[in-house]
Each structure stands twice: as structure tokens, then as C-alpha cells.
């Protein structure tokens, strides 16, 4: 029998407000000493009065609107009760039955196919304190830093519409990209401001049977989500095929070992005893407020992608790649602005080729690259290349050098003498050497094998370290080979 996976993702992301969700403490805790952004409200002292941060409500509405959700006309906050040392009050102020947004959708692209993934709900809650686990000699303890407690947290619950780990990865990347465009969240998986949990189950293909759902936690990168889901689907399929039972449980992804491990929590079902938060008054979200908030939405990735196709004449594929990162798309547009004589297609090729390779090799993101190499400088380099001052191959290594050293292309060209050789006389000498050194290729060429010429051009480029003008080299070589033939 064939099985299919049923995957639903839950994303928690911190909102980019200045102050916390229910108090006026600063949310800027990342590099702060422990327990310095704390007041009686976020410390959970008795007798305090929380107040809703309006900006957080609007950011949540913006995200919900961007995800095509219906915005609630009436919404309230609820207490979710449980005991854990990271929860100062003994309850989290969350939203239970009246999420700000519901019934939305997100469109992803997998293997060139569009797929719509349902969004169940988008609601607002608060983050919890951070626990640091310590093991001293013979005794282990946990240390609590309350700075993070009360930072606005938005939860986005997706429908279990995903069937492959790659779909889940695409969904997550798209969601991340939308949040980046909206600028409502730092959305960084690395520092934990964008976290993802997955519900995974498998069932016989085509059936609607409901089987044991496994919750997978602890995935800290897009790649980790992909790998964890791939592992979990395999594990469950194998279990069913060998007649075992899949247990409904929570499992944690262990990156180093590439496996999920059961998190045997004390066996008692969570009993959250949700009830309406008596300290906060409900919200009536008027349609005027929704419209005003909707008007604040920036151009989103899909709209920008389509505009790149019509405005810059890029392929849908390239436009999609460029716009999936806001930073990359901004860089592209600035670069095109800086130099209107260079074709948008050329700029796109540079960003998706050489620049993306630099990002990968150095494990940096676009903003780090942009900090080191301005668009003006790249425009200058591309202009130099298009004028034939340097060859394309040389321009690529110059760009790498620009990133490494922070120097401009003209400085690098001047110091390293990288100007393109277009001088026929000089190239003729080199061509003659190459012809002498590659007798078999020359013979092949004369026997009618046209690719041999490409090989010989490549040899000249190699000798000149990529500085030769390939067009001139081709001409020179052709001429020389013909002359040889006549002798």
C-alpha cells in the first residue's frame, strides 16, 4: 500500500513592536543583560493591569490580511493556564476562540505548480521567559531570564494541506518572505523570533482516515524542517508497514543525529482551562479600521514578482527567485536605478549567479553583502564589463574581491592590472602558442569539429587569466587556423 503524509505547520513569530504586548517594557532584549527589561506586569506580580499594545494588533491584522484571512469583527483575549517556570503568571494571555484572522490561504510553488495552502487562524499572544539550563557538579538547575516574557507573539496555524516535506519548506519560506515584506517581524529563525512546529501523520493514499498525529518541535532552519519532516514521514511509514503503532506524541528534532526523538513528558494531558482574560476588554474591529490597516500593506512578493516580469521583462522563474527575498529584490531595483544602460536581465543574472554564489560561499545574507558592496559600485563594475574594459570572467572575480576587501572595482582593476586584453597583436602571440601546444585540438578543428574552437578560446582565456576579450580571441584564432590551413 502507498502512504501519503499529512503535514500542518504552526509558526510563532515575534512582532517588531518597540514595547511588549501588555506592558511598556522594551522588546529590545537580544543583547541586553538578563532581567533588565522587566516590570511588575511582565513579571506576573499580583494586582497589576495589562493593557493591549495597539501596534501589535495592527501588525497581526496586516499579516492576517496579507494571508487572505477574514478579520474578526469581535475579538478578545483568553488565559491559557499551565505551570512552567518560563511562564511568570502561571498563564499566557492568548486568544482562544476569537482569533484576529481566520480562513486565509497562502499560494506556494512546487515543481512549477501552484498550490493553495489554507491558513486556519492568525492570533496574538505573548512570548514566555527564557530558560537557561545549567548542570553544576552533581546538581542541575534552570536559570530564568524574564526579558522575553511578554514580547508580542503572533501564531499562524496552517491547514494540514501539505503532503511533502518540500511543500512544507516552500510554505515556510513564502510565509517568511511575506512577513519580511510586511516588516511586522524580524522573522529570524536563527535568533528564535520565527519558530516552527509541525504536525505530521501518514495515511493510505487517497483515504481521509485520521491517524495518530505526531508533533515535531525544535527545528531551527528551513533545512531542518525539511529534514525532520522527511525523517518523520519515513519513520511513521516504516512503523505502519512493520505492523507497529504510531503513538500520538511530541518529538524533538535532533539536528546532530538527523533524527526525531520522543519527548517523554510527564504523562498528563494538558488541561489549559482557557477562560476570557478579565483584565483586558474585548476589541471591536470596525471595517473602517480593517480598511485603514489594509491600506498600509506594502507590495507583497507575488505582486512584485509579476511587476518584475512586466516592468523589467524578466522570466517568471527569475522574478520569483529575486523577489523571494525582499533585500535581494530591493538591491535589484536600486541597481537598475543606478545604471539604466545595463539590461535588467543582466543585473538579474549577476544577482542570481555570482552574488548568490558569494552569499552561499560566505554563508551571509543579502543585507550583509549590501553593507559591504553598494549598488553604485556593482553598477560601476557592470558598466566596466559591458564596455569591454574587463572580461566577464574577470568581472566575477573582481566582485568577489570587492566583497572581501570592500574596495571599488576601479581600485582593484588598477592595482591588479586586470584590464581586458583586446589588443590583436598581443592576442595573436598567445593564440600562436596555444595552437602549437594543442595539436590534437587543432587537427579536430580542421577535420570539421567546431567545438574544438571553443576549447582553444578557453585555452587562451586560461593563459590570460580570463583577461582576454573572447570575441577578439575567437577572431584571431579563426584567422590563424585558416592561415595554417593554407600553408
Amino acid at each position: 500500500m502507498k502512504y501519503e503524509a499529512v503535514i500542518g505547520l504552526e509558526v510563532h513569530t515575534q512582532l517588531r513592536t518597540r514595547s511588549k504586548m501588555y506592558c511598556r517594557c522594551s522588546t529590545d532584549y537580544v543583547n541586553a543583560p538578563p532581567n533588565t527589561h522587566v516590570c511588575p506586569v511582565c513579571l506576573g506580580m499580583p494586582g497589576v493591569l495589562p493593557v493591549i499594545n495597539k501596534q501589535a494588533v495592527e501588525y497581526t491584522m496586516m499579516a492576517a490580511l496579507a494571508l487572505n484571512c477574514t478579520i474578526a469583527e469581535y475579538t478578545k483575549f483568553d488565559r491559557k493556564n499551565y505551570s512552567y517556570p518560563d511562564l511568570m503568571k502561571g498563564y499566557q494571555i492568548s486568544q482562544y476562540d476569537t482569533p484576529i484572522g481566520r480562513s486565509g490561504r497562502l499560494t506556494i510553488q512546487v515543481d512549477g505548480q501552484e498550490k493553495k495552502v489554507g491558513i486556519t487562524r492568525v492570533h496574538l499572544e505573548e512570548d514566555v521567559a527564557k530558560l537557561v539550563h545549567r548542570t553544576a557538579v552533581g546538581e542541575s538547575c534552570s536559570l530564568v531570564d524574564v526579558n522575553r516574557s511578554g514580547v508580542p507573539l503572533m501564531e499562524i496555524v496552517g491547514e494540514p494541506d501539505l503532503h511533502f516535506p518540500e511543500e512544507a519548506r516552500q510554505y515556510l519560506m513564502k510565509l517568511h518572505s511575506i512577513l519580511q515584506y510586511l516588516d511586522v517581524s524580524t522573522a529570524s529563525m536563527e535568533d528564535g523570533s520565527f519558530r516552527c512546529d509541525a504536525n505530521v501523520s501518514i495515511r493510505p493514499e487517497g483515504s481521509s482516515e485520521l491517524l495518530a498525529k505526531v508533533e515535531v518541535k525544535n527545528m531551527n532552519s528551513f533545512r531542518a524542517v525539511f529534514r525532520a519532516l522527511e525523517y518523520e514521514v519515513k519513520r511513521q511509514t516504516r512503523a505502519i508497514e512493520t505492523g507497529e503503532k504510531v503513538v500520538q506524541e511530541t518529538r524533538g528534532w535532533v539536528e546532530e543525529n538527523g533524527e526525531t526523538v520522543s519527548q517523554r513528558s510527564k504523562e498528563f494531558a494538558h488541561d489549559y482551562r482557557y477562560f476570557p482574560e478579565p483584565d483586558l476588554l474585548p476589541l471591536n474591529i470596525t471595517r473602517t479600521w480593517v480598511a485603514e490597516t489594509g491600506a498600509k500593506l506594502p507590495e507583497l512578493p507575488e505582486a512584485r514578482r509579476d511587476r518584475f516580469v512586466t516592468e523589467y521583462g524578466l522570466s517568471l522563474y527569475d522574478a520569483n527567485l529575486l523577489t523571494s527575498s525582499k533585500e535581494m529584490a530591493d538591491y535589484f531595483e536600486n541597481l537598475c536605478q543606478d545604471n539604466k544602460t545595463i539590461l535588467a536581465k543582466t543585473v538579474s543574472n549577476w544577482l542570481l549567479g555570482t552574488v548568490s554564489a558569494i552569499l552561499n560561499t560566505n554563508n551571509i545574507d543579502m543585507s550583509e553583502f549590501a553593507d559591504q558592496v553598494s549598488t553604485e559600485r556593482v553598477a560601476e563594475l557592470l558598466l566596466t564589463e559591458s564596455q569591454g574594459v574587463v572580461s566577464t570572467a574577470t568581472a566575477k572575480s573582481i566582485l568577489e574581491e570587492m566583497y572581501k576587501t570592500g574596495k571599488s572595482s576601479s581600485e582593484i582593476i588598477a592595482v591588479q592590472g586586470l584590464t581586458q586584453i583586446s589588443d590583436t597583436g598581443e592576442l595573436e602571440k598567445i593564440a600562436a602558442q596555444v595552437i602549437q601546444a594543442n595539436v590534437p585540438a587543432v587537427a579536430d578543428y580542421k577535420a570539421g569539429k567546431a567545438q574544438s574552437l571553443t576549447f582553444l578560446v578557453g585555452q587562451v582565456m586560461r593563459v590570460t587569466h580570463g583577461r582576454a576579450n573572447p570575441r577578439v580571441v575567437t577572431e584571431v584564432l579563426k584567422k590563424k587556423l585558416e592561415e595554417e590551413g593554407e600553408e
Binding site: 513592536t17 518597540r18 514595547s19 511598556r24 517594557c25 522594551s26 543583560p33 538578563p34 532581567n35 533588565t36 527589561h37 522587566v38 516590570c39 511588575p40 513579571l43 493593557v51 493591549i52 499594545n53 495597539k54 501596534q55 501589535a56 494588533v57 478578545k76 493556564n81 505551570s83 512552567y84 517556570p85 530558560l131 537557561v132 539550563h133 545549567r134 548542570t135 542541575s140 538547575c141 534552570s142 536559570l143 530564568v144 531570564d145 524574564v146 518541535k217 525544535n218 511530541t250 524533538g252 519527548q263 513528558s265 510527564k266 498528563f268 488541561d271 482551562r273 476570557p276 478579565p278 483586558l280 476588554l281 474585548p282 476589541l283 471591536n284
Partner: protein, 96 residues
Amino acid sequence: MKLSREEVLHIALLARVGLAEAEGEKLGEQLSNILENFEVLQPVDTSDVPPTTQSIIRHNVMRDDEVTPSLSQDEVLANAPQKEENFFRVRAVLEQ
């Protein structure tokens, strides 16, 4: 409404209250009494009253996103039963 022994123990567990056998008996009775007192409200006809989660008529009470100074680290930790390196120190938690 009489609470069962299991219900009393479950509530105690959720509230993280340790109960001796005798205390369980006594608190069970008291909790049951409280619930019975509320049952007085049951006969009232509320079919014309829309359900609400608030008895206050106001709504949309929000504040602008502004930061004000927090407490000092010493004040924050002043009531901590145990502290270490400017953190609250608690018993080790291993559950995720």
C-alpha cells in the same frame, strides 16, 4: 454539586497544591459548597440575555507602542527565593 475525590486531586495537581489525605476530604467539601452556592443562579431565565465575557460595557482599550523604563535588575530579583548570576534560579526542568 458534589466533586469527586479524583476531581479534587486533579484540581490540586493543576494548582500545584500538595494535599494530605485529610485536607483533600476537607477541601473537597468546601469546593463543593462553593459550587452549590453558585447553583442558586441556575434557575434564572437568561434566554433573552446575550452571552458576554465582560460585565463592563467598554471595549477597544489600547495603548500606543511606547517604551517606559523597566525596573532595575535588583528590584526584579528582590523577591527571588533563589538567584544566580542575575537570573532567577529554579529546579531543573527537563521537559522540552
